[in-house]
């Protein structure tokens, strides 16, 4: 796990010597050497990495991978308080649960995320482009990355099958940030299918269905497969109360619904949805009634599901979608613990 290859010692990072980054003492005993050693030197974003890679660490402080603003704002939107410091109970949930997904430089470029398995990826080799299956998958494996790689659900994504990885579509800014602090993932310049497939845009396409549906449908409505949906997540403390761990049921489903939040970039009327695990009583372990706005915000969310295939069961023919109620979010899909706001996403039946 902590074996270092001799090849690493010849690299520019390796030539610095362990102590430059990890501190500690050059002593022959483990106790002496490790007494002041820091196993995770990149935990301080302004620390040793910033010495040479200051341009990156500076923007990284604005990245949602670093500050988890997306999770923070998600939590606060369900709560009635405006900011985390106003509510110690919400801060407790955020710090002991959400924050475990915070990533440091080292957790992508040298080791696996500690929230996954931790440990060096390859004997301390530094990866300029982190290997997706060891890093991105570590945090996003249950859904997005797992579906992309075919580890969750049915087939993987055609782009993965053709050898592409996350970084082939997602700009570096999606990982390192731009320096501008965003509120959530959707504020970022995210990839669009049309970046590569411009000829398939409505009006330009040789495929009649593309022109017929226009911007009414997101690409995933016809080209994604079932995705992994989590339900009724309830967090509970671990033994020493240092972390809040979660447990939720999950189910593979494919549901098309009305777009919860149409924007200029994503104006679609119909989108693929995914159920997020949050329930009104998710954080009752910490304090009761922590999410008083729960019924104001849907917990079925727009999901640009990452398991694209050219041919899917819903694009086989017009009837496979237009006459198939089972593909659409229905009233019976809304369970007792769900937000009442989900009702506005149900597609009216003819």
């Amino acid at each position: 796990m902590y074996l270092v290859s001799k090849d690493f010692l010849e690299t520019s990072h390796g030539q610095l010597g362990c102590i430059n980054c990890h501190a500690g003492e050059n002593l022959p005993t483990q106790e002496g050497a490790h007494a002041t050693m820091n196993p995770y030197p990149s935990e301080d974003n302004n620390g040793i990495c910033a010495q040479c890679h200051g341009a990156v660490t500076e923007t990284y402080a604005s990245s949602i991978h670093y500050n988890l603003h997306g999770m923070e704002n998600g939590l606060m939107s369900f709560a009635s308080t405006d900011s985390m410091p106003d509510s110690p109970a919400h801060a407790e949930v955020f710090d002991k649960n959400c924050m475990s997904c915070h990533a440091t430089c080292g957790e992508c470029h040298v080791s696996r995320p500690s929230n996954y398995t931790g440990g060096l990826i390859n004997q301390h080799e530094f990866f300029k482009t982190p290997p997706m299956e060891e890093t991105c998958y570590g945090c996003h494996g249950a859904r997005t990355a797992g579906e992309f790689m075919g580890e969750v659900g049915f087939s993987g994504d055609v782009h993965f099958e053709l050898g592409m990885d996350c970084m082939d579509c997602h700009n570096i800014d999606n990982f390192h940030g731009t320096g501008e602090v965003g509120e959530r993932m959707w504020d970022e310049a995210l990839p669009s299918c049309l970046d590569c497939h411009a000829e398939e845009a409505s009006g330009n396409s040789q495929i009649e269905a593309h022109n017929a549906h226009g911007d009414m449908l997101s690409c995933q409505v016809c080209h994604a497969q079932a995705n992994n949906n989590c339900f009724e997540c309830h967090v509970s403390y671990n033994e020493d109360k240092s972390a809040l761990k979660s447990a939720s049921d999950s189910k593979l489903m494919f549901r098309i619904g009305l777009n919860p939040n149409p924007t200029e970039e994503r104006p679609y009327k119909y989108v693929t949805l995914r159920h997020i695990p949050t329930a009104a009583n998710s954080f009752d372990t910490v304090e009761t009634d922590m999410l008083p706005n729960f019924d104001e915000i849907s917990n079925w969310k727009y999901s640009p599901t990452h398991n694209i295939q050219k041919s899917t069961f819903q694009n086989e023919s017009c009837e496979s979608c237009h006459d198939n109620d089972k593909l659409f979010l229905r009233e019976e899909d809304i369970i007792e613990s769900d937000s009442k706001d989900n009702l506005r996403l149900i597609v009216p039946r003819p």
Binding site: P28, A55, C139
Partner: protein, 80 residues
Amino acid sequence: MKEKFYHKAIFGALVMVILAVVILFTYQLTNKSEHIAKKLTTPVAIDPIDSSNCIACHTSESIIGSVVIESDEGHGGEGG
């Protein structure tokens, strides 16, 4: 007459020296600001620190392999 010539020459030399200092100072200032801007992206020199004892253990498969590491059983994969 000769003395006047010497005074003029000394004055000229003085002006040239001052000009040279001003030019060099300006150049240095400009160069310094570029250096600060570049510092963010250009690796700076960090002196290596002798870590021979650390290396001796951490490159030895038999030593590292004998250390029992407790897994934190992270709950990876919960994320989106």
